[in-house]
Subunit: 393 residues, 3 copies
């Protein structure tokens, strides 16, 4: 099998990997790399004023709460006193009081009340807090050391339209294979063939190329017509792309621009956090919202996406036969998380269609090796307003 041996060498164009490019655990090179950037941790509607909820991001647990002023704040998950979960407590103004003994912390982490202790003790205790801001309906948090990067981390898509934030999906696999999937446009002609939602993108198969930029990766998909589709991959885990309307939208709202973050919950799970600009105005805004309400009714009546995915995996449901209002999401999760919880990249036979994935992995390995060796690494720029995706079909 000499031919196989030579095929395998294609997977080794990148420098020898002695770093784990899939992990984002704190303290690993991948964890340090990811924590240079603002991380999408949820959508703004996740947490109302005066409420708190638990979140888990890149393997660590946090409490996210929204003070009565409207400010959202991420803090450590546990009270430093005896480890009770902070999200069980009470939001008081923009501070939060622990459910166990009433210790209270403000947004900066200072302990401002300790009912059963002597007055001076509270000055000795702090809780960890993390810069938290919101943009286009998404909550971002900075988990890194040093100064926080510029905010917002990317521009709003230009033009008149409506911001539509999608439901958040928790997907049972590593984030990186999902991010890689967005660099691989050939898949839509096969993965999304059932249901036909992506038929216009599947009339012919594009030739993929990609180049590193100051802010991430620009990917091109050249069609037989000569048209070229442009897709932006913002470092480290966000794609900005023009996509077909979901099958449940019946074409209403046209092709929106979506900004899609693949946020690691831990190395085995990720959140799909998605916002979009829908190019509707005037009467079409109401039509769009009506159709979206209809889609949400269908979603509420449909079996949960992950239940359908598990039935596909077990063989109970045939992939080609599935119908679902979120069919494209079902398909993407079935295939991407179907690659394994963490895809075995050592067993691949990469091809021409994987050109952009190869470029991104080379960037990741380079940066992670620099981090591992303690050497100076790339300073990433905030994506500029004028570089935008192009439909290109």
């Amino acid at each position: 099998m000499d031919s196989t041996a030579s095929a395998r060498t294609m997977t080794h164009q990148a420098p020898r990997a002695d770093v784990d490019i899939a992990t984002t655990r704190e303290g690993t090179p991948g964890g340090t790399f990811m924590r240079q950037f603002w991380t999408a941790v949820g959508v703004s509607t996740d947490v109302e004023r005066g409420r708190a909820k638990p979140i888990r991001i890149m393997g660590n647990d946090y409490t996210l709460y929204r003070g009565h002023s409207g400010h959202a704040q991420v803090i450590d998950s546990r009270c430093p006193h005896r480890g009770a979960p902070m999200h069980l407590g009470w939001v008081e103004e923009d501070a939060i009081r622990c459910v166990y003994h009433g210790w209270t912390f403000d947004c900066d982490g200072a302990c401002v009340d300790q009912p059963a202790e002597e007055a001076s003790y509270k000055d000795k205790v702090r809780i960890g807090t993390y810069p938290t801001r919101e943009h286009l309906g998404i909550i971002f948090c900075f988990f890194g050391t040093g100064a926080e990067p510029a905010f917002p981390p990317f521009p709003e898509p230009p033009g008149e339209g409506v911001i539509d934030v999608w439901p958040v999906y928790e997907v049972p696999c590593n984030y990186l294979q999902c991010f890689e999937n967005t660099m691989d446009e050939v898949h839509v002609a096969f993965t999304h063939a059932p249901g036909g939602s992506h038929a216009k993108l599947s009339q012919d198969l594009p030739i993929i190329t990609a180049e590193e930029t100051d802010w991430g990766l620009m990917r091109y998909g050249r069609r037989k017509s000569g048209n070229v589709r442009h897709t932006l991959h913002y470092a480290p885990n966000i794609v900005r792309v023009i996509v077909p309307p979901l099958s449940g939208m019946n074409g209403v709202g046209g092709w929106p621009e979506i900004i899609f973050s693949f946020t690691p919950v831990d190395d085995e799970r990720c959140l799909w956090i998605i916002t979009s600009k829908v190019y509707v105005s005037g009467d079409d805004v109401a039509k769009f919202h009506a159709q979206l309400a209809e889609l949400n009714r269908l979603r509420a009546d449909a079996p949960p996406v992950l239940d359908v995915v598990r039935d596909i995996w077990s063989g109970k449901l045939a992939y080609a036969d599935v119908t679902h209002p979120d069919l494209a999401v079902v398909q993407d999760i079935a295939v991407q998380a179907g690659q394994g919880v963490i895809e075995d990249r050592a067993s691949e036979f990469l091809g021409r269609s994987d050109a952009a994935i190869v470029v991104w992995r080379r960037i990741l390995r380079r940066e992670l090796q620099l981090i591992a060796q303690g050497e100076p690494r790339k300073v990433w720029s905030t994506p500029p307003d004028h570089i935008t995706p192009a439909l290109g079909i």
Copy 2:
């Protein structure tokens, strides 16, 4: 952060711990310590005459059965022949017959029948058995080596009244943080604030002190009024205390005395095994039982306690909004098991309210270190009748 460093030293008042105070696995110092005492393994109504059930205590599996004489007996979980679960078998008089090949063992562990084997073979086989006795509606078992301690392990609370045995709860965390919670009366003003069941204990916050006794720990809670609440902590895992009536009891039965064992299932789970003396007599006995029947009806219709706790943990339910006939139990489990399966005691900032916990940990560490070093250790006494809890509010 010098102040933090100095705060942390508070957690190190106890001698340096090179022992694991949370584990009770057989063969560890903690396991040996716990096995000096009678262990509550369930309630008497768990097992009827002629029936058997599986139990798991401190990481080991056993079969508990009740012979036709009424005697309850704990034996090893598996038949020594080929490992079939003994609780699947048949109780015959006070012996038990294995479901696989009919080998039969009496209460002393002797093999008394082996239908398919030659007659002499049964003399070569025994099953492990453990002294088993009952007191106040609770089944106790002695898993230690040497002579069994005096029985009962503690006196019945004095005075006229009714013994009321509670439902057993299985709680998904280590037993020790639950036992510690009973030493920490400040928590009731916060943890049990929603629902108001403990309002009378929360009018002001007590100053906690504690002292070691021959039989465990006596804890005091001094109020601004000068009243002092007395609570008994019987070594190694039982609390005796006067508590408010459960919210579902609407005050009927008044403030009972409860005796509450935190029995390790294994290091990650524990049973809450509770009996109580309710101070009712005459017509009030019937009123109490009627209200208890009503509470049990409400319990039967309510979602399982642990389902509610998991919804609180996941953020689906807000702690402050929960209603449940077992609200105080929901609250206690949400907070105590919310500290983590085994609380990370190395990350605490202990305070004045933790004074009794600090004393008990010091005792535990001392005893476990003596066991680890093979040195003589404390001989614990049976708690005397005349030392009783005081309400003290």
Copy 3:
């Protein structure tokens, strides 16, 4: 306890085991031993023409599909390109196309289409395939190296009758203790006492003997009457035996001959794959099918077998009280998987009733040790037509 020590020596009649006789993982001696034979992987009705499903056998994942010609084929579970699950794809003639990028493989493993790649690349890629054949309603696969053994792996039971393939059960324990159970006829008098389905086999207890053959193990059960029951144990995991009708059959169809494979899913689970010859002809065929349809109606309305088993294990249901259309299956799984996920053979007290188990373990240890040492091992024969089971009661 000298007597115990001498009893324990009975378990050591076989040569010292330095091999793990329970594992079948690839690369272990047990895995190599098992892969010498055709392995039953499912029943023919599991997969229709044009469909694919996932299977897991001896710790490895595969895709099983049936081409449009009717040929069933086992291949590797994942596409060699980027690891997508092959069973999500499309069966085209007797080939299968991957859902992710359309790579297509034929029954021999050749890549015959790769839509987005250059033409020559497909010659460099193959998928693993495994010889797959069918016999008596069961699908067999050969996972070994070298030439495949003779097929079919055992003869059809002689005489006029109907082949009846049973439902497949997935059982949560290692396959070997299930295979051993079939060598242990004494168990039926106890394990199957409730319900009475095996009463005729339980009137007295047989004396068990066994001898190694060219094709496996022949086991004898001699009754007080002098009658001898013959049961065939085909290496490595198949039993052929005459059994009573299932309780749900009410005796219709009489005592069938069953051929029963204990197929490892992995070391912790196995499939019970069973086919049978029912000795009915003429009008009795229709009666048999009518009663079987009735049994299947009862099965559809009954709680799942494993749910009942778990309720028995937890103590919620009493073993002796269970009623179920598949009662004997419930009983067998409760007892055999109740021995532990992998029975602890080091803790047994084997007796006279275990004589056949002792012989088979000695064979297994001998063969696995030869494999471990790289020495020539037994060449097993295909079971001959003329050696058949005898009822012998």
